[in-house]
Amino acid sequence: MIVKREKLSFWERLYFPALLGGFKVTFRHFANTLFRGRNTGKELSGGYYPETPWKVADGYRGAPYLVRDQSGDTKCVSCQLCEFICPPKAIRIVPPGPNGPVPDRPNAEKIPQEFEINMLRCIFCGFCQEVCPEEAIFLKQDYSLTGLSRKEMIYDKEKLLALGGTHAGVQKWKQKLEEAKEQETFPVKD
């Protein structure tokens, strides 16, 4: 497609109308901010940052945390998809192995032995959340991550679970368990 460019009139080519327009816009903002005390911080969150934290919009991609389901069980099954998809390799998962911990949830196969996210590496892209088949990891709304050392910025499984909280959603494995139980008591007709 070719966009036809309008020919500028003589008046427009003089550059003065643009100057005037620019001055009008900047002066309006200047006066509104200076004399009527209107500014972005006040209008969006009612205050300035350290005292009044910024209100995060829906769908904001903050720090990724692990979540528990409604029964308080770890949802992650240590499939390591997030570890493989993670572009900056911020996630590190140690699978349980044959003698590792047993999952909290009945009917789930695995639980990660160790799950670490290096928040200094994380780019908050949200691939881990998208790829997770268990809906176990979510980008929450935390945007202010601080620490006094690099080590402190590597969040382990306990920390991630504590920060992530509970996620209200479908409990896939609980449903499957109930279906299986139903199968056993299913009245077989002749």
Binding site: L19, G22, T26, H29, F30, T33, R38, N39, G41, Y48
Partner: protein, 362 residues
């Protein structure tokens, strides 16, 4: 009746001149520091922000009403910034050409202050012989134009000495830009001196006081000079050498700490110098309509200095405001404007003024 002389003439001349230098440089440095604050505040207001409003030394907040107000206006921010520059590490990358790298910031800053030497910033103070100008040159404007064009060497040298891509591009742009706008600037002031008939800036101001401000006589000259001044001081819309969005800071990319601060200081001192030049050339210096005689008392002399400084600050505000109003010109547009628009217009302006003067003289 005059008081008996305590000092020989030469000593007195040297002492008075030194005093004047101190009295010019210290306020200029203060204006520079607070121009940065005004710049940050104005930009904040234009962009719906609040600007610096946190910095406050201990105990100031204890003062009722005034303390919090000073904090909100960010009055202490320049001091904190200055302190920061002193404390920062002065890092010199290994690949730079050391001697030039060290020389460049000084070469950028010195011309800006040298220009101020010939600016008459007031009429007289105390006795009539005590003119408020550091060097009362008969060729003031020629000196100014000569010194201003030295400023570009600092930038070009910085670009060359940094020995890396972006500063180099910044240096090249700077030299091309300076050359084209230098000519327009020089040509634009010729009508002013054709009309007043004197190259001495002090007498130019007196002429403007007795007749009319030059901005009324030759508005075209003023406009060209203003635009050229923007280009000379590397301010938006002509901040090609710096253009932080394309060249990562241009010529001062590799500089840090106090050396960077010198460039920064130079840029703002240049703004002060250009504003002072424009006040002198086009806005009647220390005169106001109805207040045109050289002062006879100390209070009158101080009033004249205050008038000059007030005009200067208004022009500084114009410099600052324009930066947040206009987008950067493209490189070729900049060249086109300089060579193909302003130089012919300036030449035509000279011719027109000369013809009018000739016709009037007949």
């Amino acid at each position: 009746m005059r008081a008996p002389r305590l000092l020989p003439d030469l000593m007195e001349f040297i002492l008075v001149t030194l005093l004047k230098i101190v009295c010019v440089v210290v306020p200029v440095l203060t204006i520079v520091a607070y121009a940065v604050l005004v710049e940050r505040k104005v930009s904040a207001f234009i962009q719906d922000r609040v600007g610096p409003n946190r910095t406050v030394p201990p105990l100031v907040l204890k003062i009722p009403v005034v303390g919090p107000l000073l904090q909100r206006w960010g009055i202490f921010q320049p001091m904190a910034d200055g302190l920061k520059f002193i404390l920062k590490e002065d890092f010199t990358p290994g690949y730079v050409r050391k001697a030039y790298f060290w020389l460049a910031p000084a070469i950028t800053m010195v011309p800006a202050f040298l220009v101020l030497a010939v600016i008459p910033f007031g009429s007289t103070l105390g006795n009539p012989g005590n003119k408020m100008v550091i060097a009362d040159l008969n060729v003031g404007i020629l000196f100014t134009l000569g010194i201003v064009s030295l400023g570009v060497y600092g930038i070009v040298l910085a670009g060359y000495a940094s020995n890396s891509k972006y500063p180099f591009l910044g240096g090249i742009r700077s030299s091309a830009q300076m050359i084209s706008y230098e000519i327009a600037m020089g040509l634009s002031v010729i009508p002013v001196f054709l009309i007043s008939g004197d190259l001495n800036l002090g007498r130019l101001i007196e002429w403007q006081g007795q007749n009319v401000w030059m901005v009324v006589c030759c508005p075209v000259s003023f406009f060209i000079f203003l635009v050229a001044a923007f280009a000379e001081t590397n301010r938006l819309p002509f901040d090609m050498p710096e253009s932080e969005s394309e060249l990562v800071g241009g010529y001062h990319t590799e500089y840090s700490s106090m050396k960077f601060a010198l460039f920064f200081l130079g840029e703002y001192a240049n703004m002060v110098a250009s504003s002072a030049m424009m006040v002198t050339l086009f806005f009647g210096g220390w005169t106001l309509p109805g207040l045109t005689e050289p002062a006879s008392s100390v209070a009158g002399g101080l009033l004249h200095i205050a008038i000059f400084v007030a005009k200067l600050l208004v022009l500084m505000l114009v410099f600052i405001w324009v930066r947040w109003m206009l987008p950067r010109f493209r490189y070729d547009q900049l060249m086109d404007l300089g060579w193909r628009r302003f130089i012919p217009v300036a030449l035509a302006n000279i011719l027109a003024t000369a013809v009018v003067l000739w016709v009037n003289a007949k």
